[in-house]
Protein backbone atom coordinates (compact mmCIF):
# COMPACT_ATOMS: atom_id res chain seq x y z
CA UNK A 1 0.00 0.00 0.00
CA UNK A 2 1.44 3.36 -1.01
CA UNK A 3 1.74 6.31 1.32
CA UNK A 4 -1.18 7.97 -0.39
CA UNK A 5 -3.56 5.01 -0.02
CA UNK A 6 -2.50 4.55 3.57
CA UNK A 7 -3.25 8.12 4.35
CA UNK A 8 -6.61 7.82 2.67
CA UNK A 9 -7.40 4.66 4.62
CA UNK A 10 -6.47 6.23 7.98
CA UNK A 11 -8.48 9.29 7.07
CA UNK A 12 -11.52 7.11 6.30
CA UNK A 13 -11.23 5.17 9.56
CA UNK A 14 -10.92 8.31 11.62
CA UNK A 15 -13.81 9.95 9.89
CA UNK A 16 -16.15 6.99 10.39
CA UNK A 17 -15.11 6.76 14.01
CA UNK A 18 -15.97 10.43 14.59
CA UNK A 19 -19.34 10.06 12.88
CA UNK A 20 -20.12 7.01 14.99
CA UNK A 21 -19.18 8.76 18.21
CA UNK A 22 -21.32 11.74 17.29
CA UNK A 23 -24.28 9.48 16.57
CA UNK A 24 -23.78 7.82 19.92
CA UNK A 25 -23.84 11.17 21.63
CA UNK A 26 -26.85 12.38 19.70
CA UNK A 27 -29.01 9.25 20.04
CA UNK A 28 -29.71 9.59 23.77
CA UNK A 29 -30.31 13.31 23.33
CA UNK A 30 -32.83 12.92 20.56
CA UNK A 31 -34.48 9.87 22.00
CA UNK A 32 -34.93 11.69 25.29
CA UNK A 33 -36.59 14.62 23.58
CA UNK A 34 -38.68 12.32 21.42
CA UNK A 35 -39.69 10.16 24.37
CA UNK A 36 -40.74 13.14 26.48
CA UNK A 37 -42.67 14.52 23.54
CA UNK A 38 -44.41 11.18 22.85
CA UNK A 39 -45.31 10.46 26.44
CA UNK A 40 -46.13 14.00 27.40
CA UNK A 41 -48.09 15.39 24.52
CA UNK A 42 -51.17 13.24 25.31
CA UNK A 43 -51.56 14.89 28.70
CA UNK A 44 -51.50 18.42 27.36
CA UNK A 45 -54.64 20.48 27.11
CA UNK A 46 -55.67 23.94 28.12
CA UNK A 47 -56.88 23.00 31.59
CA UNK A 48 -53.57 21.29 32.30
CA UNK A 49 -51.91 24.71 32.29
CA UNK A 50 -54.44 26.50 34.45
CA UNK A 51 -55.78 23.98 36.93
CA UNK A 52 -54.61 22.84 40.34
CA UNK A 53 -53.45 19.25 40.81
CA UNK A 54 -56.36 16.94 41.63
CA UNK A 55 -56.38 14.36 44.43
CA UNK A 56 -55.61 10.75 43.53
CA UNK A 57 -58.44 9.04 41.75
CA UNK A 58 -59.94 12.18 40.23
CA UNK A 59 -59.21 12.63 36.57
CA UNK A 60 -57.62 15.76 35.13
CA UNK A 61 -55.95 18.42 37.17
CA UNK A 62 -52.99 20.52 36.10
CA UNK A 63 -49.83 22.35 36.90
CA UNK A 64 -51.19 25.90 37.01
CA UNK A 65 -49.96 26.60 40.51
CA UNK A 66 -46.61 24.94 39.84
CA UNK A 67 -46.04 27.13 36.77
CA UNK A 68 -46.99 30.22 38.71
CA UNK A 69 -44.76 29.10 41.57
CA UNK A 70 -41.81 28.59 39.27
CA UNK A 71 -42.21 32.12 37.93
CA UNK A 72 -42.51 33.56 41.43
CA UNK A 73 -39.35 31.71 42.47
CA UNK A 74 -37.47 32.87 39.39
CA UNK A 75 -38.61 36.43 39.98
CA UNK A 76 -37.27 36.37 43.54
CA UNK A 77 -34.07 34.71 42.32
CA UNK A 78 -33.63 37.35 39.61
CA UNK A 79 -34.34 40.30 41.88
CA UNK A 80 -31.59 39.05 44.15
CA UNK A 81 -29.25 37.24 41.77
CA UNK A 82 -29.04 39.56 38.75
CA UNK A 83 -27.95 42.79 40.48
CA UNK A 84 -25.60 41.02 42.87
CA UNK A 85 -24.13 38.88 40.11
CA UNK A 86 -23.76 41.69 37.57
CA UNK A 87 -22.15 44.09 40.01
CA UNK A 88 -19.85 41.41 41.41
CA UNK A 89 -18.84 40.68 37.81
CA UNK A 90 -18.22 44.37 37.16
CA UNK A 91 -16.14 44.53 40.32
CA UNK A 92 -14.04 41.56 39.26
CA UNK A 93 -13.42 42.96 35.83
CA UNK A 94 -12.75 46.61 36.77
CA UNK A 95 -11.16 46.31 40.20
CA UNK A 96 -10.49 42.61 40.64
CA UNK A 97 -6.76 42.51 39.91
CA UNK A 98 -5.94 41.88 43.57
CA UNK A 99 -5.88 38.92 45.98
CA UNK A 100 -9.47 39.52 47.05
CA UNK A 101 -10.62 39.52 43.44
CA UNK A 102 -8.75 36.28 42.85
CA UNK A 103 -10.45 34.74 45.86
CA UNK A 104 -13.92 35.79 44.67
CA UNK A 105 -13.22 34.46 41.19
CA UNK A 106 -12.05 31.16 42.65
CA UNK A 107 -15.15 30.90 44.86
CA UNK A 108 -17.43 31.59 41.90
CA UNK A 109 -15.73 28.84 39.91
CA UNK A 110 -16.02 26.37 42.76
CA UNK A 111 -19.63 27.36 43.33
CA UNK A 112 -20.59 26.68 39.72
CA UNK A 113 -19.36 23.12 40.21
CA UNK A 114 -21.02 22.50 43.57
CA UNK A 115 -23.93 20.03 43.44
CA UNK A 116 -27.09 22.09 43.67
CA UNK A 117 -28.44 20.10 46.59
CA UNK A 118 -25.70 21.62 48.73
CA UNK A 119 -27.07 25.06 47.95
CA UNK A 120 -30.45 23.73 49.13
CA UNK A 121 -28.99 22.53 52.40
CA UNK A 122 -27.13 25.81 52.86
CA UNK A 123 -30.28 27.89 52.41
CA UNK A 124 -32.22 25.41 54.55
CA UNK A 125 -29.92 26.09 57.51
CA UNK A 126 -29.65 29.80 56.88
CA UNK A 127 -33.21 30.74 55.95
CA UNK A 128 -35.64 27.86 56.44
CA UNK A 129 -34.65 26.93 59.98
CA UNK A 130 -34.93 30.50 61.35
CA UNK A 131 -38.25 30.97 59.51
CA UNK A 132 -39.39 27.54 60.70
CA UNK A 133 -40.91 26.63 57.37
CA UNK A 134 -39.97 26.29 53.75
CA UNK A 135 -41.02 29.35 51.80
CA UNK A 136 -41.06 30.97 48.38
CA UNK A 137 -38.50 33.41 49.74
CA UNK A 138 -36.07 30.66 50.72
CA UNK A 139 -36.55 28.86 47.41
CA UNK A 140 -35.96 32.07 45.49
CA UNK A 141 -32.76 32.73 47.41
CA UNK A 142 -31.56 29.20 46.67
CA UNK A 143 -32.17 29.64 42.94
CA UNK A 144 -30.55 33.08 43.09
CA UNK A 145 -27.41 31.61 44.63
CA UNK A 146 -27.45 28.94 41.97
CA UNK A 147 -27.54 31.62 39.27
CA UNK A 148 -24.77 33.75 40.81
CA UNK A 149 -21.62 32.03 39.51
CA UNK A 150 -22.83 31.99 35.90
CA UNK A 151 -23.89 35.62 36.03
CA UNK A 152 -20.70 36.76 37.77
CA UNK A 153 -18.36 35.04 35.36
CA UNK A 154 -20.21 35.92 32.15
CA UNK A 155 -20.47 39.54 33.26
CA UNK A 156 -16.78 39.64 34.08
CA UNK A 157 -15.77 38.11 30.76
CA UNK A 158 -18.05 40.38 28.74
CA UNK A 159 -17.04 43.54 30.56
CA UNK A 160 -13.43 42.64 29.94
CA UNK A 161 -14.20 42.45 26.24
CA UNK A 162 -15.37 46.08 26.17
CA UNK A 163 -12.47 47.90 24.53
CA UNK A 164 -10.37 50.06 26.81
CA UNK A 165 -10.61 52.89 24.31
CA UNK A 166 -14.26 53.36 25.34
CA UNK A 167 -13.31 53.69 28.99
CA UNK A 168 -10.66 56.24 28.03
CA UNK A 169 -13.15 58.12 25.87
CA UNK A 170 -15.46 58.40 28.87
CA UNK A 171 -12.72 59.44 31.27
CA UNK A 172 -11.40 62.01 28.80
CA UNK A 173 -14.87 63.59 28.74
CA UNK A 174 -14.52 64.32 32.42
CA UNK A 175 -16.69 61.44 33.59
CA UNK A 176 -15.96 59.92 36.98
CA UNK A 177 -14.89 56.29 36.83
CA UNK A 178 -18.14 54.94 38.28
CA UNK A 179 -20.13 56.88 35.69
CA UNK A 180 -17.99 55.48 32.90
CA UNK A 181 -18.64 51.97 34.18
CA UNK A 182 -22.36 52.49 34.61
CA UNK A 183 -23.11 54.53 31.50
CA UNK A 184 -20.51 53.41 28.97
CA UNK A 185 -19.01 50.04 29.87
CA UNK A 186 -22.11 48.23 31.16
CA UNK A 187 -24.34 49.26 28.22
CA UNK A 188 -21.64 48.14 25.79
CA UNK A 189 -21.57 44.69 27.41
CA UNK A 190 -25.29 44.53 28.11
CA UNK A 191 -26.56 42.25 25.38
CA UNK A 192 -23.89 39.69 26.17
CA UNK A 193 -24.63 39.90 29.86
CA UNK A 194 -28.33 39.39 29.08
CA UNK A 195 -27.40 36.17 27.30
CA UNK A 196 -25.55 34.95 30.38
CA UNK A 197 -28.49 35.89 32.58
CA UNK A 198 -30.90 34.01 30.29
CA UNK A 199 -28.77 30.88 30.46
CA UNK A 200 -28.57 31.16 34.23
CA UNK A 201 -32.36 31.50 34.45
CA UNK A 202 -32.83 28.53 32.12
CA UNK A 203 -30.65 26.45 34.38
CA UNK A 204 -32.41 27.60 37.54
CA UNK A 205 -35.79 26.90 35.95
CA UNK A 206 -35.08 23.19 35.76
CA UNK A 207 -33.46 22.72 39.16
CA UNK A 208 -35.28 20.48 41.65
CA UNK A 209 -32.72 19.72 44.31
CA UNK A 210 -32.26 23.19 45.81
CA UNK A 211 -36.05 23.61 46.04
CA UNK A 212 -36.92 20.34 47.78
CA UNK A 213 -36.33 21.59 51.30
CA UNK A 214 -36.38 25.31 50.70
CA UNK A 215 -39.62 25.95 48.81
CA UNK A 216 -41.28 22.61 49.49
CA UNK A 217 -44.49 21.93 47.66
CA UNK A 218 -48.01 23.20 47.99
CA UNK A 219 -51.04 21.93 46.11
CA UNK A 220 -52.83 25.29 45.95
CA UNK A 221 -52.40 28.68 44.37
CA UNK A 222 -49.96 30.90 46.25
CA UNK A 223 -47.77 33.92 45.77
CA UNK A 224 -46.97 34.42 49.43
CA UNK A 225 -43.28 34.90 50.08
CA UNK A 226 -43.36 33.35 53.54
CA UNK A 227 -45.35 30.23 52.59
CA UNK A 228 -44.48 27.03 50.83
CA UNK A 229 -44.85 27.24 47.09
CA UNK A 230 -45.11 24.72 44.29
CA UNK A 231 -42.73 24.66 41.36
CA UNK A 232 -42.62 22.77 38.10
CA UNK A 233 -39.60 20.56 38.82
CA UNK A 234 -40.81 19.65 42.31
CA UNK A 235 -44.29 18.93 40.95
CA UNK A 236 -42.74 16.59 38.38
CA UNK A 237 -40.72 14.97 41.13
CA UNK A 238 -43.87 14.31 43.16
CA UNK A 239 -46.02 13.12 40.27
CA UNK A 240 -43.29 10.84 38.97
CA UNK A 241 -42.49 9.39 42.39
CA UNK A 242 -46.10 8.43 43.08
CA UNK A 243 -47.42 4.93 42.47
CA UNK A 244 -50.39 6.12 40.37
CA UNK A 245 -50.57 5.66 36.64
CA UNK A 246 -52.53 8.93 36.02
CA UNK A 247 -49.92 10.90 37.93
CA UNK A 248 -47.13 9.41 35.82
CA UNK A 249 -48.96 10.74 32.79
CA UNK A 250 -49.14 14.16 34.47
CA UNK A 251 -45.40 13.98 35.19
CA UNK A 252 -44.62 13.37 31.50
CA UNK A 253 -46.77 16.24 30.38
CA UNK A 254 -45.21 18.55 32.98
CA UNK A 255 -41.75 17.40 31.92
CA UNK A 256 -42.58 18.30 28.34
CA UNK A 257 -43.64 21.76 29.45
CA UNK A 258 -40.38 22.14 31.38
CA UNK A 259 -38.24 21.04 28.44
CA UNK A 260 -40.03 23.42 26.10
CA UNK A 261 -39.61 26.30 28.56
CA UNK A 262 -35.90 25.66 28.95
CA UNK A 263 -35.60 25.40 25.18
CA UNK A 264 -37.34 28.74 24.73
CA UNK A 265 -35.06 30.42 27.25
CA UNK A 266 -31.98 29.01 25.51
CA UNK A 267 -33.26 30.13 22.14
CA UNK A 268 -33.87 33.61 23.53
CA UNK A 269 -30.28 33.65 24.78
CA UNK A 270 -29.09 32.57 21.30
CA UNK A 271 -31.15 35.29 19.66
CA UNK A 272 -29.69 37.91 21.96
CA UNK A 273 -26.19 36.76 21.06
CA UNK A 274 -26.81 36.78 17.33
CA UNK A 275 -28.49 40.18 17.40
CA UNK A 276 -25.39 41.44 19.19
CA UNK A 277 -22.96 40.06 16.63
CA UNK A 278 -25.25 41.49 13.96
CA UNK A 279 -25.03 44.95 15.50
CA UNK A 280 -21.22 44.91 15.51
Amino acid sequence: MGVYQRRKFVDGVMRSWCILATLFAVIPLFSLLAYVLLKGVGGLNWSFFIELPKPVGELGGGIGNALLGSFVLLAIASIFGIPVGVFAGVYLSEFGANPFGKLVRFCADVMSGVPSILIGIFVYTLVVLPMRSPSAFAGGIALGILMLPTIIRTTEELIKLVPNSLREAGLALGMAKWRVILRVVLPAGMSGIATGVMLAIARAFGETAPLLFTAGSYPFWSVHLNKRISSLPVQIYEYAGSPYEEWHQQAWAAALVLVVMVLILNLAAKLLTSSRSHAR
Binding site: S165, G174, P187
Partner: protein, 291 residues
Protein backbone atom coordinates in the same frame (compact mmCIF):
# COMPACT_ATOMS: atom_id res chain seq x y z
CA UNK B 1 4.75 81.79 42.05
CA UNK B 2 2.68 84.36 40.25
CA UNK B 3 0.01 86.09 42.24
CA UNK B 4 -3.65 85.80 41.48
CA UNK B 5 -3.72 89.47 40.55
CA UNK B 6 -1.00 89.03 37.98
CA UNK B 7 -2.88 86.07 36.65
CA UNK B 8 -6.06 88.02 36.15
CA UNK B 9 -4.19 90.86 34.48
CA UNK B 10 -2.69 88.36 32.13
CA UNK B 11 -6.05 86.79 31.48
CA UNK B 12 -7.68 90.11 30.79
CA UNK B 13 -5.05 90.95 28.25
CA UNK B 14 -5.09 87.42 26.88
CA UNK B 15 -6.16 88.48 23.42
CA UNK B 16 -3.48 91.14 23.12
CA UNK B 17 -0.80 88.79 24.31
CA UNK B 18 -1.81 86.21 21.79
CA UNK B 19 -1.59 88.69 18.96
CA UNK B 20 1.80 89.89 20.04
CA UNK B 21 2.91 86.30 20.13
CA UNK B 22 1.95 85.95 16.55
CA UNK B 23 3.75 89.11 15.54
CA UNK B 24 6.90 88.34 17.46
CA UNK B 25 7.41 84.62 17.10
CA UNK B 26 8.93 82.71 19.96
CA UNK B 27 12.61 83.34 19.76
CA UNK B 28 15.01 81.09 21.52
CA UNK B 29 15.38 83.60 24.28
CA UNK B 30 11.69 83.64 24.77
CA UNK B 31 11.54 79.90 25.01
CA UNK B 32 14.19 80.00 27.66
CA UNK B 33 12.45 82.82 29.42
CA UNK B 34 9.15 81.07 29.10
CA UNK B 35 10.49 78.38 31.34
CA UNK B 36 10.89 81.01 34.05
CA UNK B 37 7.95 81.52 36.35
CA UNK B 38 6.64 84.89 35.31
CA UNK B 39 6.92 84.94 31.56
CA UNK B 40 5.63 81.42 31.45
CA UNK B 41 2.26 82.67 32.61
CA UNK B 42 1.76 84.20 29.19
CA UNK B 43 0.58 80.94 27.68
CA UNK B 44 -2.57 78.97 28.33
CA UNK B 45 -0.63 76.11 29.81
CA UNK B 46 2.89 75.83 31.15
CA UNK B 47 4.57 72.50 31.56
CA UNK B 48 7.44 72.53 34.05
CA UNK B 49 10.00 69.80 34.35
CA UNK B 50 7.45 67.13 33.58
CA UNK B 51 8.49 63.53 34.13
CA UNK B 52 6.36 60.49 33.48
CA UNK B 53 6.89 56.82 34.14
CA UNK B 54 5.39 53.47 33.24
CA UNK B 55 6.40 51.41 36.23
CA UNK B 56 10.10 52.10 36.69
CA UNK B 57 10.75 53.20 33.11
CA UNK B 58 11.04 56.94 32.76
CA UNK B 59 9.36 57.87 29.49
CA UNK B 60 9.23 61.67 29.75
CA UNK B 61 12.47 63.00 31.14
CA UNK B 62 11.96 66.54 32.32
CA UNK B 63 10.06 68.50 29.68
CA UNK B 64 9.21 72.19 30.02
CA UNK B 65 7.23 74.14 27.47
CA UNK B 66 4.52 76.72 27.18
CA UNK B 67 1.33 76.24 25.17
CA UNK B 68 0.12 79.45 23.53
CA UNK B 69 -3.51 80.44 23.95
CA UNK B 70 -5.80 79.95 20.93
CA UNK B 71 -2.99 78.60 18.83
CA UNK B 72 -2.14 75.18 17.48
CA UNK B 73 0.96 73.58 18.97
CA UNK B 74 2.24 70.48 17.23
CA UNK B 75 4.33 67.75 18.79
CA UNK B 76 6.47 65.72 16.45
CA UNK B 77 9.06 63.04 16.92
CA UNK B 78 9.84 59.45 16.02
CA UNK B 79 7.42 56.81 17.16
CA UNK B 80 7.95 55.65 20.72
CA UNK B 81 9.58 58.93 21.80
CA UNK B 82 6.80 59.66 24.27
CA UNK B 83 4.49 62.04 22.38
CA UNK B 84 1.33 60.26 23.47
CA UNK B 85 2.57 59.88 27.00
CA UNK B 86 3.35 63.59 27.09
CA UNK B 87 -0.03 64.87 26.01
CA UNK B 88 -1.83 62.37 28.22
CA UNK B 89 -0.07 64.11 31.11
CA UNK B 90 -1.73 67.38 30.11
CA UNK B 91 -5.24 66.23 31.08
CA UNK B 92 -4.23 63.68 33.70
CA UNK B 93 -5.02 60.72 31.49
CA UNK B 94 -1.57 59.22 31.98
CA UNK B 95 -2.36 58.20 35.53
CA UNK B 96 -5.36 56.05 34.55
CA UNK B 97 -2.93 53.44 33.24
CA UNK B 98 -1.99 51.03 36.05
CA UNK B 99 1.47 51.70 37.51
CA UNK B 100 1.86 54.96 35.60
CA UNK B 101 2.85 58.11 37.42
CA UNK B 102 3.84 61.70 36.85
CA UNK B 103 6.08 64.32 38.49
CA UNK B 104 6.50 67.98 37.72
CA UNK B 105 3.98 70.72 37.21
CA UNK B 106 1.41 71.54 34.56
CA UNK B 107 -0.12 74.97 35.04
CA UNK B 108 -3.48 75.62 33.48
CA UNK B 109 -4.19 79.36 33.71
CA UNK B 110 -1.49 79.40 36.35
CA UNK B 111 -2.96 76.66 38.52
CA UNK B 112 -1.14 73.35 38.81
CA UNK B 113 -3.44 70.57 37.60
CA UNK B 114 -1.39 68.11 39.65
CA UNK B 115 -2.08 70.02 42.86
CA UNK B 116 -3.46 67.63 45.46
CA UNK B 117 -6.62 69.69 45.83
CA UNK B 118 -7.44 69.43 42.13
CA UNK B 119 -9.92 66.80 40.94
CA UNK B 120 -8.60 65.16 37.76
CA UNK B 121 -12.17 64.62 36.57
CA UNK B 122 -12.73 68.41 36.45
CA UNK B 123 -9.47 68.93 34.56
CA UNK B 124 -10.54 66.48 31.89
CA UNK B 125 -13.70 68.41 31.16
CA UNK B 126 -11.61 71.56 30.69
CA UNK B 127 -8.90 69.87 28.65
CA UNK B 128 -10.54 67.63 26.04
CA UNK B 129 -8.92 64.81 24.15
CA UNK B 130 -9.25 63.14 20.77
CA UNK B 131 -7.58 59.77 20.38
CA UNK B 132 -5.66 58.08 17.61
CA UNK B 133 -8.43 55.61 16.82
CA UNK B 134 -11.94 57.05 16.62
CA UNK B 135 -13.85 55.79 19.65
CA UNK B 136 -17.50 56.87 19.52
CA UNK B 137 -19.75 55.13 22.03
CA UNK B 138 -21.24 52.26 20.01
CA UNK B 139 -24.41 51.96 22.09
CA UNK B 140 -25.35 55.61 21.54
CA UNK B 141 -26.74 57.50 18.60
CA UNK B 142 -24.81 60.29 16.91
CA UNK B 143 -26.80 62.85 18.87
CA UNK B 144 -26.27 61.04 22.17
CA UNK B 145 -22.56 60.79 21.43
CA UNK B 146 -22.31 64.54 21.02
CA UNK B 147 -24.15 65.15 24.28
CA UNK B 148 -22.50 62.29 26.18
CA UNK B 149 -19.95 64.41 28.05
CA UNK B 150 -22.74 66.61 29.41
CA UNK B 151 -25.68 64.21 29.80
CA UNK B 152 -23.74 61.35 31.35
CA UNK B 153 -22.23 63.79 33.80
CA UNK B 154 -25.68 64.84 34.90
CA UNK B 155 -25.45 68.31 33.35
CA UNK B 156 -28.76 69.72 32.19
CA UNK B 157 -28.46 71.04 28.65
CA UNK B 158 -30.89 73.88 28.09
CA UNK B 159 -31.01 73.74 24.29
CA UNK B 160 -29.58 70.37 23.30
CA UNK B 161 -30.63 70.56 19.63
CA UNK B 162 -28.89 73.87 19.15
CA UNK B 163 -25.76 72.63 20.86
CA UNK B 164 -25.69 69.46 18.76
CA UNK B 165 -26.04 71.45 15.56
CA UNK B 166 -23.46 74.00 16.63
CA UNK B 167 -20.70 71.57 17.57
CA UNK B 168 -21.36 69.23 14.66
CA UNK B 169 -21.13 72.28 12.42
CA UNK B 170 -17.86 73.20 14.12
CA UNK B 171 -16.59 69.67 13.49
CA UNK B 172 -17.65 69.92 9.82
CA UNK B 173 -19.99 66.96 10.19
CA UNK B 174 -23.43 68.55 10.41
CA UNK B 175 -24.20 68.40 6.69
CA UNK B 176 -23.47 64.70 6.52
CA UNK B 177 -25.38 63.61 9.60
CA UNK B 178 -28.19 66.10 10.11
CA UNK B 179 -30.77 63.60 8.83
CA UNK B 180 -29.40 60.56 10.64
CA UNK B 181 -28.81 61.93 14.13
CA UNK B 182 -30.49 58.91 15.68
CA UNK B 183 -28.34 56.38 13.93
CA UNK B 184 -25.57 54.64 15.87
CA UNK B 185 -22.28 56.49 16.05
CA UNK B 186 -20.59 53.26 15.01
CA UNK B 187 -22.39 53.29 11.64
CA UNK B 188 -20.31 56.20 10.34
CA UNK B 189 -17.10 55.95 8.32
CA UNK B 190 -13.77 56.23 10.12
CA UNK B 191 -13.28 59.88 9.20
CA UNK B 192 -16.83 60.76 10.20
CA UNK B 193 -16.39 58.91 13.49
CA UNK B 194 -13.28 60.92 14.21
CA UNK B 195 -15.11 64.17 13.51
CA UNK B 196 -17.90 62.94 15.77
CA UNK B 197 -15.32 62.41 18.50
CA UNK B 198 -14.08 65.94 17.93
CA UNK B 199 -17.65 67.25 18.18
CA UNK B 200 -18.17 65.22 21.35
CA UNK B 201 -15.08 66.84 22.89
CA UNK B 202 -16.09 70.32 21.69
CA UNK B 203 -19.54 70.01 23.27
CA UNK B 204 -17.89 70.47 26.65
CA UNK B 205 -16.44 73.79 25.46
CA UNK B 206 -12.92 72.77 26.43
CA UNK B 207 -10.27 75.40 26.94
CA UNK B 208 -7.67 73.12 25.40
CA UNK B 209 -8.14 70.28 22.94
CA UNK B 210 -5.49 67.57 22.87
CA UNK B 211 -5.31 65.46 19.73
CA UNK B 212 -3.17 62.35 19.57
CA UNK B 213 -2.44 61.57 15.92
CA UNK B 214 -6.11 62.13 15.06
CA UNK B 215 -5.59 61.31 11.38
CA UNK B 216 -3.28 58.33 11.50
CA UNK B 217 -6.14 55.86 11.06
CA UNK B 218 -7.76 57.86 8.25
CA UNK B 219 -7.48 58.11 4.48
CA UNK B 220 -6.05 61.28 2.81
CA UNK B 221 -9.43 62.88 2.12
CA UNK B 222 -10.66 62.40 5.68
CA UNK B 223 -7.28 63.66 6.86
CA UNK B 224 -7.51 66.90 4.93
CA UNK B 225 -11.04 67.51 6.25
CA UNK B 226 -9.78 67.12 9.81
CA UNK B 227 -6.84 69.40 9.10
CA UNK B 228 -9.23 72.06 7.83
CA UNK B 229 -11.29 71.88 10.94
CA UNK B 230 -8.22 72.00 13.19
CA UNK B 231 -7.44 75.19 11.37
CA UNK B 232 -10.81 76.74 12.14
CA UNK B 233 -11.16 75.41 15.70
CA UNK B 234 -7.60 76.50 16.45
CA UNK B 235 -8.71 80.10 16.23
CA UNK B 236 -11.11 79.77 19.14
CA UNK B 237 -9.61 76.96 21.17
CA UNK B 238 -6.08 76.06 22.19
CA UNK B 239 -4.98 72.90 20.42
CA UNK B 240 -2.08 70.56 21.06
CA UNK B 241 -1.74 68.00 18.31
CA UNK B 242 0.59 65.04 18.15
CA UNK B 243 1.52 63.93 14.70
CA UNK B 244 4.25 61.85 13.15
CA UNK B 245 3.52 63.55 9.86
CA UNK B 246 5.74 66.60 9.55
CA UNK B 247 3.86 68.06 6.60
CA UNK B 248 0.77 67.97 8.74
CA UNK B 249 2.52 69.75 11.59
CA UNK B 250 3.74 72.38 9.14
CA UNK B 251 0.24 72.80 7.68
CA UNK B 252 -1.82 73.12 10.84
CA UNK B 253 0.35 74.50 13.62
CA UNK B 254 1.88 77.79 14.65
CA UNK B 255 4.35 76.22 17.08
CA UNK B 256 6.11 72.90 16.92
CA UNK B 257 7.92 70.88 19.55
CA UNK B 258 10.32 68.14 18.52
CA UNK B 259 10.58 65.27 20.98
CA UNK B 260 13.28 62.65 20.97
CA UNK B 261 13.63 59.78 23.44
CA UNK B 262 11.45 61.45 26.03
CA UNK B 263 13.14 64.82 25.86
CA UNK B 264 12.12 68.09 24.27
CA UNK B 265 14.87 68.76 21.78
CA UNK B 266 13.56 71.90 20.20
CA UNK B 267 10.49 74.10 20.50
CA UNK B 268 9.93 76.99 18.17
CA UNK B 269 7.72 78.66 15.64
CA UNK B 270 6.64 76.05 13.16
CA UNK B 271 8.08 78.10 10.27
CA UNK B 272 11.42 78.47 11.97
CA UNK B 273 11.65 74.91 13.19
CA UNK B 274 11.10 73.51 9.73
CA UNK B 275 13.27 76.00 7.85
CA UNK B 276 16.07 76.81 10.24
CA UNK B 277 16.16 74.10 12.89
CA UNK B 278 18.51 75.03 15.71
CA UNK B 279 19.51 71.52 16.58
CA UNK B 280 21.29 68.84 14.59
CA UNK B 281 18.87 66.11 15.69
CA UNK B 282 15.87 68.17 14.65
CA UNK B 283 17.46 68.76 11.29
CA UNK B 284 18.22 65.07 10.86
CA UNK B 285 14.65 64.20 11.71
CA UNK B 286 12.90 66.71 9.49
CA UNK B 287 15.17 65.97 6.57
CA UNK B 288 14.29 62.31 6.98
CA UNK B 289 17.68 61.07 8.02
CA UNK B 290 16.11 59.02 10.77
CA UNK B 291 12.68 58.39 12.20
Amino acid sequence: MITAKQMFQLRDTGGAVAISEEEAPLSKERILRSQGEEVGALGKMQVKDLRAWFGKTEIIKGVSLSVADKRVTAIIGPSGCGKSTFIRCLNRMHEVVPKAHVAGRVLLDGVDIYDRKIDPVKIRSRVGMVFQRPNPFPTMSIRENVLAGLKLNGVKVSRPDELVEQVLEQAALWGEVKDILNRSGASLSGGQQQRLCIARALALKPEILLMDEPCSALDPIATSRIEELIHSIGKVCTIVIVTHNMQQAARVSQYTAFFYMGELVEFNDTDILFTKPGNQRTEDYITGRFG
